[in-house]
């Protein structure tokens, strides 16, 4: 019954759900990171690098960043839908934001997986 509402046919419902799901994930991660920063106080390079070196935390950080980029996509897309009316310009902006966020995703993997 309810799961039909989140099928491909009702994309607005899926976007609504994904926007909130990514928001909750990001909030949980930020609480975790806040606790780690508070506990370890990494004011030096070695401490900062050590904090981010466990694989699980790098995985969580990547999940946070991917959630962030997807959340940003949904939000920025809505902003352009509301304020940018010429179709060609709007399509161009949508495309530019999508490409940028995909590039950020690749960049993030690169940053996090260069930590040893």
């Amino acid at each position: 019954m309810v799961d039909r509402l989140f099928s491909r046919k009702y994309s607005g419902m899926r976007h609504w759900l994904l926007q909130r799901l990514t928001a909750v994930l990001m909030t949980l991660y930020l609480m975790l990171l806040g606790a780690l920063l508070f506990a370890q106080h990494p004011t030096q390079y070695t401490a900062w690098k050590a904090l981010l070196s466990p694989l699980w935390l790098r995985g969580a950080t990547l999940l946070f960043l991917l959630s962030l980029f997807f959340h940003a996509w949904l939000g920025v897309r809505d902003i352009f839908n509301d304020y940018v009316h010429p179709l060609v310009l709007r399509s161009f902006l949508h495309g530019a934001v999508a490409i940028t966020l995909i590039a950020y995703s690749v960049w993030s993997v690169n940053i996090l997986w260069s930590v040893r």
Partner: protein
């Protein structure tokens, strides 16, 4: 489709209700955070590369202008998070009457102001 209904486009003459203010600031702060993304990623990348680059970023972020930017971004993040939590609570039918929505809007504005002030004090 043209219609002749009167429009008031003088934004300065419209008094924005508090829930509307929280809403538009939620959008503005979200967009600001989106614009800040490349700089945050760049800072993360540099800070993890080497001790020298870490120090470079730390020095850069201790400049007054950079601290001001951090306070503004801090406000954006805090407001966006609190307004977002308010949104989710309202999704669950919490505080959806107008008086309660006004109260929660005031709470969001006030708490983000206080938390931003604490961030600023911690940075200086």
């Amino acid at each position: 489709m043209k219609n002749a209904r009167p429009k008031n486009l003088n934004l300065l003459s419209i008094r924005l209700p508090l829930p509307a203010l929280v809403s538009i600031l939620h959008r503005a702060s979200g967009f600001l955070l989106f614009l800040a993304l490349p700089f945050l990623l760049l800072a993360l990348q540099s800070s993890l590369k080497s001790a020298i680059q870490f120090q470079h970023i730390a020095d850069l972020l201790s400049q007054p202008a950079a601290k001001l930017m951090l306070v503004i971004l801090g406000w954006a993040a805090i407001h966006h998070l609190l307004a977002g939590i308010r949104h989710l609570l309202m999704d669950m039918h919490w505080a959806i009457t107008l008086p309660k929505a006004r109260t929660s809007a005031r709470m969001v504005l006030l708490s983000s102001a206080i938390l931003t002030f604490l961030v600023a004090r911690w940075l200086w």
